[in-house]
């Protein structure tokens, strides 16, 4: 049996020459003292391989259209066996790749490894970094959630600032006249076809050039016999890759990657923030007002990359010792520190909270959805329709409005039609308003009594009275009702306004509303001063 196997391998070697190739690939003599610092490139290669494999796994389920992208990503997370972990690996893998690429680059700079004759390989490495960042940017859009949409809006608008070519570049990235279906297919094609092709070509070039010139080795050449790459250095590479792999698995297991509410171009309460590795650039954009914005968006990042490319020609001394190369290492470290500071500042930044505050109608509407038999009959864990989960609503606004207002259209024969009264109309409006807020998250937590008051206020009062900047304006504003009116007066006015003011247009609610609800609303309004 063994003879047969050996014969088969010999035959294959005779026809393909694979033994020679394997020998060439693995039996690379490395300078003495090559150690752990030289495993970083392999860690990066490991990360890229994880991305390629998990990416294939995700592509089996992903659908790049605005109608299905978000739902397909949600399906991967909830319906595919091990899908959440797979997506977690791809999500955190992107961060691992960025970190590994930067650490590898920093090692190369500090060891002076880009020096003659390795200049071209250094440039190939910088190009690889651009490809990796482009992977990050195009990968973002694919889940078609709020973050995806707004990050893409900003990225495409930045491309418009390119002198001369801005509009062309933006329209090439956008695909159509607006960000939409054509943008999604385009970025998907770039993410899964164009960039992988560029990545593989550049990685092959990088490895070829590394072998052509050999690795640079320790800064101070060490005496002693050279070691073969296989198995000595390969064992170090494997150890590091395994450690990073364990870290990645823990991250993917513990930290579910975010899937925010589906993309909503009209949303005014969403606060867009990019992925952490773009936070530095994000923060930089804030410092260049008006016509200077091109400096933060393109000039500074461009100059920084340009300086990196030119490093081998700016740093031409004889020694690779760090002490002899302070003129290069100090500014480089300073640049890194600025990038780190900008990233931290960007991460700390949060937009004004009041912009995202829920109004009474929205909170009341959310309470109606949660408690009304009209909704919960179908929308519950084991019901005919999916439970309504904050942040997990993908139906467009007009569909929701139609669904809430007219049961015959979407759920014929299943639901009751809302009664044609003004109260029913107010309920419908409150529910529609609430759904638009529930897209991006749950309502603020508050006690049940206040929520009940908000719900009844949204049902009976909101369409005529403004409170805290929202509401109808047929009646007087009630934001500070307690300044003028007592609980008793308000209560009387609600029960029968004509008893207090004979010429009042306000309808009487005594008999329509529960007595204790009238009392609670009156107390709440009287407390507003």
């Amino acid at each position: 049996m063994k003879g047969l196997w050996a014969g088969l391998v010999d035959w294959l070697d005779n026809r393909t020459g694979f033994r020679k190739l394997r020998h060439h690939a693995l039996e690379e003599p490395l300078p003495a003292g090559t150690g752990w610092w030289f495993t970083l490139g392999s860690v990066l290669l490991f990360g890229l391989s994880v991305q390629a494999l998990t990416g294939i796994g995700l592509a089996l389920f992903y659908a790049p259209t605005p109608d299905h992208a978000w739902d397909s990503v949600r399906y991967i997370t909830t319906g595919v066996r091990g899908g959440a972990f797979l997506r977690g690996l791809h999500h955190w893998g992107a961060s691992v790749v960025v970190v590994a690429a930067v650490v590898h680059l920093v090692r190369v700079v500090f060891f002076g490894s880009y020096r003659k004759p390795r200049e071209v390989n250094w440039i190939v490495g910088i190009l690889l970094l651009q490809v990796i960042l482009a992977f990050g940017l195009t990968g973002y859009l694919l889940p078609w959630d709020q973050r995806a949409y707004w990050a893409t809006v900003v990225a495409i608008n930045i491309s418009k600032l390119t002198p001369g070519l801005g509009e062309l570049l933006a329209s090439l990235l956008r695909g159509g006249s607006e960000i939409g279906a054509l943008t999604l297919t385009r970025w998907y094609a770039i993410h899964v076809m164009v960039l992988p092709l560029a990545l593989v070509s550049l990685v092959v070039a990088h490895l070829y050039l590394m072998r052509r010139h050999g690795i640079s080795g320790p800064v101070r050449p060490q005496s002693g016999p050279s070691q073969m790459f296989f198995p000595h250095q390969a064992a170090r590479d494997l150890t590091m890759a395994a450690l990073v792999g364990v870290l990645l698995a823990v991250l993917a297991w513990k930290g579910a990657p975010p899937l925010e509410a589906p993309a909503d171009p009209t949303s005014s309460n969403y606060i867009p923030r990019p992925e952490w590795y773009f936070l530095g650039l994000f923060q930089l954009l804030k410092y260049f007002p008006g016509r200077w914005e091109v400096i933060g968006a393109l000039v500074i990042p461009g100059v920084a990359m340009g300086l990196l490319v030119l490093l081998p020609w700016l740093d031409r001394g004889r020694s690779r010792e760090a002490r002899q190369r302070m003129a290069v290492l100090v500014p480089f470290t300073f640049g890194l520190a600025i990038l780190a500071t900008l990233t931290v500042l960007g991460a700390r930044d949060s937009a004004p909270a009041s912009a995202a505050r829920w109004n009474i109608q929205e909170i009341g509407g959310a309470a109606m959805i949660a408690t009304s038999e009209r909704c919960t009959r179908c929308h519950r864990a084991d019901g005919l329709a999916a439970a309504i989960e904050p942040g997990h609503i993908s139906k467009p606004a007009d569909w929701v409005a139609m669904h809430v207002a007219d049961p015959e259209v979407i759920a014929a024969g299943v639901r009751d039609a809302p009664q044609g009264s003004a109260t029913a109309q107010a309920e419908t409006k409150a529910m529609i308003a609430a759904v638009s807020r529930l897209r991006s998250g749950a309502p603020p937590a508050q006690d049940a009594a206040t929520t009940h008051i908000y719900r009844e206020f949204a049902r009976y009062c909101f369409s005529c009275h403004v409170v805290d900047g929202a509401g109808g304006k047929d009646g007087p504003e009630l934001t500070h009702a307690g300044l003028k009116l007592s609980t008793e007066t308000i209560e009387l006015r609600i029960i029968d306004p004509k008893m207090v003011k004979p010429d009042s247009d306000m309808p009487a609610f005594g008999g329509k509303m529960a007595t204790e609800d009238i009392r609670a609303i009156a107390q709440w309004l009287a407390s507003r001063k």
């Binding site: 809006v153 607006e178 969403y270 804030k286 008006g290 937009a351």
Partner: protein, 156 residues
């Protein structure tokens, strides 16, 4: 090899190289032509934004205008947000798109300013830049009152 043969060889080499280049350029041109979008700008037209009775006092009203729009093989809703406000006897409409990098500004009832949630741009009630990176005021949109229907119409 004679000089004549060498010349022939060089000429052939150039022809082959040029042929490969031509094939590559043709393929790249085809893909490039397909990838360059055909964008046809739609002429602005007057559309209903809100009923004049919808406008609250003392606060700009965010009107969402929806438009069915072709997006490749797809027909999507393009939604535009415009802030409407009564100013004296007249009406004013401001685009809610930040002039910096296109995020959606929102009205803050406490500060009485428009805030952009992305890079911190702040505009006053008239759309003028107060602070942050926006290079220009919020874009003014033409608005008119349709006396017959009491609708406010904007030109978009």
């Amino acid at each position: 090899m004679s000089a004549h043969d060498s010349d022939r060889r060089n000429t052939l080499a150039k022809l082959v190289t040029a042929g490969i280049g031509l094939i590559g350029a043709t393929l790249a041109g085809l893909v490039g032509a397909a990838a360059t979008p055909r964008v046809t700008a739609r002429a602005p037209r007057w559309r209903k934004a809100a009923s004049m009775f919808d406008l609250p006092q003392d606060t700009p009203f965010a009107a969402v205008l929806a438009d069915r729009q072709a997006d490749g093989w797809y027909e999507t809703r393009k939604e535009t947000v415009v802030y409407l406000e009564k100013v004296g006897d007249d009406y004013r409409a401001l685009s809610a798109t930040c002039t910096h990098l296109g995020c959606r500004v929102s009205w803050n009832a406490e500060t009485k300013h428009f805030h952009c949630p992305c890079h911190g741009g702040v505009y006053d009630r008239d759309g003028r830049v107060i602070s942050g990176p926006p290079p220009a005021p919020l874009t003014r949109v033409n608005v008119r009152l349709n006396a017959q229907t009491s609708d406010l119409e904007v030109e978009l």
